[in-house]
């Protein structure tokens, strides 16, 4: 099984649009949206949901006011200041550590398991897809990322597919770390800006830390040709495969508005040509081939 995970460090560099374009090109694959915090791939894939599952993770402390004697021990022990003046618990501050539950002398604190979101198995015009929706303001996004990746793997096995295309989250924290383990390769989509460059260095360092091979491409490359060359030199210096550049092209926005991949929207646009070339480089280095 080969899983390609697309990450960027900085948000808004074009990860999802580029992954969607790859979905147009690759055959026999499962699509996986691991950006569970702000999932957008479904807006292009328009999936038909086949299965819907609750995502349960962690617990939440709830004080039973009938039993509570307001002794204040929970407040002393809570490191999140989640126990309010009136001896209720602010669910947004509660970390789910259960320390108050354990020590409450009256056993007045319930600790139910939390439903933090949903995950889905869907069918799309490009094949099966696993995606999720983390509840707003919820925690445990890393665990939900792990869950959707596991489900994508199962789905690929069940279909006899060898490839998973995973859209990763921005940043370098918990959900990104959960996106990297066991990946065959990560593709970093960056942009030639001071922030794109800064952020790709940090996320590449993270991939190195987890020993996942890194490949790099630059989107909106013509916005700053010097910065683009600089990213290419940096990548090659680090031993990352530099797969190419994509010009700044309004076709990305137009395709998104139309709910299409950039290849479906305009197969002959400059951006489409560039993405196709990058895909060929990727497919070659991951030892699978586009089409049949």
């Amino acid at each position: 099984m080969k899983e390609l995970v697309i990450i960027s460090g900085k948000g808004g560099t074009g990860k999802t649009s580029i992954l969607a374009a790859f979905a147009s090109l690759a055959e026999d694959k499962v699509l996986c949206d691991a950006d569970v915090d702000a999932a957008d791939l479904h807006l292009i894939m328009n999936p038909t949901v086949k299965e819907r599952h609750d995502f349960q993770s962690g617990h939440e402390a709830i004080i039973d006011s009938e039993k509570c004697t307001q002794c204040g021990l929970c407040r002393d022990l809570c490191r999140w200041n989640a126990v309010r003046e009136d001896f209720t618990i602010d669910p947004l501050d509660c970390e789910g550590c259960g320390v108050c539950v354990y020590f409450c002398p009256e056993r007045a604190i319930d600790f139910p398991i939390k439903t933090c979101g949903e995950w889905y198995v869907s069918e799309t015009r490009f094949g099966p897809m696993v995606h999720a929706r983390l509840g707003i303001a919820e925690e445990n996004s890393g665990k939900l990322v792990t869950q959707v990746r596991q489900e994508a793997r199962k789905l690929a096995e069940a279909n006899g597919f060898q490839l998973i295309l995973t859209d990763g989250p921005p940043g370098i924290g918990c959900p990104v770390i959960a996106s990297l383990g066991g990946a065959k390769v990560v593709l970093i989509v960056t942009e030639p800006t001071v922030s794109g460059r800064h952020d790709m260095e940090r996320v590449a360092q993270l991939a190195d830390f987890f020993r996942v091979p890194v490949m790099v491409c630059v989107n909106k490359a013509d916005l700053n040709a010097d910065a683009t060359s600089d990213i290419q030199r940096f990548s090659e210096g680090k031993g990352y495969a530099f797969l190419g550049t994509i010009p700044f092209d309004p076709v990305f926005t137009k395709a998104m508005v139309a709910g299409k991949t950039i290849l479906e929207y305009d197969n002959h646009s400059e951006a489409a040509e560039a993405v196709r070339k990058i895909w060929q480089g990727l497919a070659g280095s991951m030892e699978f081939h586009e089409g049949r």
Partner: protein, 278 residues
């Protein structure tokens, strides 16, 4: 006055708005970059840093001499961060949420507080503007404690502008909770709108007034305006796409440096925010 700048979707222009708003206002303003996973504001502010401190989380260290392997620590730990295997107790410090439960429960007082480095905080200034940011250690998963530490630099009574991370989960909540106003920066595209709706949901859970900046306002469709009208979210500023702005950004220049006429608009934006935050 604490103004958090958030978006849902990444790359919509949060940092552009935060940095230009902070520089426009100038004296007596603090800019806190709470996107500790990928802090970028300093690339545009170019602050002189004066202080640098390491931020650590409290994690268990076990004194094996005192430990009787009773297993109470692993029983209380909700995060599987300390387990007894055979005749040894193993803390997994990277999984620890620093709740202190294991230390509290240990009957032998065999667990003491060790440290796991979360990242660093750097504080400095550019002219009259005070600047603080956090940088999460690469490999560290948990950003909210570092974000809270950056926010502890907030000076009451002044104007504090917070550059929040993208998304809508715990790091974003840690960056907007307790703010007087959340300024949401979006772009009029399907992705921008979808993630904006999530962000508005998060802001409403917290009960904070909010308003919108629509960036690259001429690239996309009309659905953001329709949504804003339906949901009664005021649009406070629109920034049309301009290649000069994009190119200046790519070099690390402020919008104000290439188009100084925007200063007046950012000052007006602040006026609108103060009216809405009342």
């Amino acid at each position: 006055m604490i103004i958090s700048i958030a978006s849902g979707k990444g790359g919509t222009g949060k940092t552009t708005v935060a940095t230009n708003l902070a520089i426009s206002l100038g004296k007596g303003v603090q800019l806190l970059d709470c996107d500790v996973e990928e802090p970028n504001a300093h690339l545009f502010i170019n602050p002189v840093f004066e202080k640098r401190s390491v931020v650590a989380a409290s994690v268990p260290e076990v004194d094996e001499e005192k430990c009787t392997l009773c297993g109470k620590c692993s029983e209380i730990c909700q995060f599987k961060a300390i387990v007894v295997i055979g005749n040894t107790v193993l803390p997994f410090q990277e999984l620890c949420h620093s709740c202190g439960g294991c230390m509290e429960v240990c009957p032998e007082k065999a667990i003491r507080e060790g440290e796991r480095v979360l990242g660093i905080i750097e504080a400095g200034h550019r002219g009259d503007l005070e600047f603080v940011h956090g940088r999460l250690r690469v490999g560290e998963a948990m950003s909210p404690p570092l974000i809270r530490k950056v926010r502890s630099f907030t000076k009451p009574g002044g104007i504090t502008i917070i550059d929040a991370p993208p998304g809508t989960s715990c790091p974003v909540i840690a960056s907007i909770k307790g703010a007087d106003f959340v300024l949401l920066v979006t772009e009029p595209t399907p992705f921008g709108l979808h993630d904006l709706k999530l962000a508005v949901g998060a802001v409403r859970i917290l009960g904070i007034p909010c308003g919108l900046v629509v960036n690259r306002s001429d690239m996309g469709d009309d659905r953001v305006w329709e949504y804003a009208k339906e949901e009664n979210v005021p649009i406070l500023m629109e920034i049309p796409f301009d290649r000069r702005i994009a190119e200046a950004y790519s070099r690390g220049q402020l919008l104000l440096e290439v188009m100084p006429e925007w200063k007046e608009k950012f000052l007006q934006l602040y006026e609108r925010i103060t009216e809405l935050a009342k």
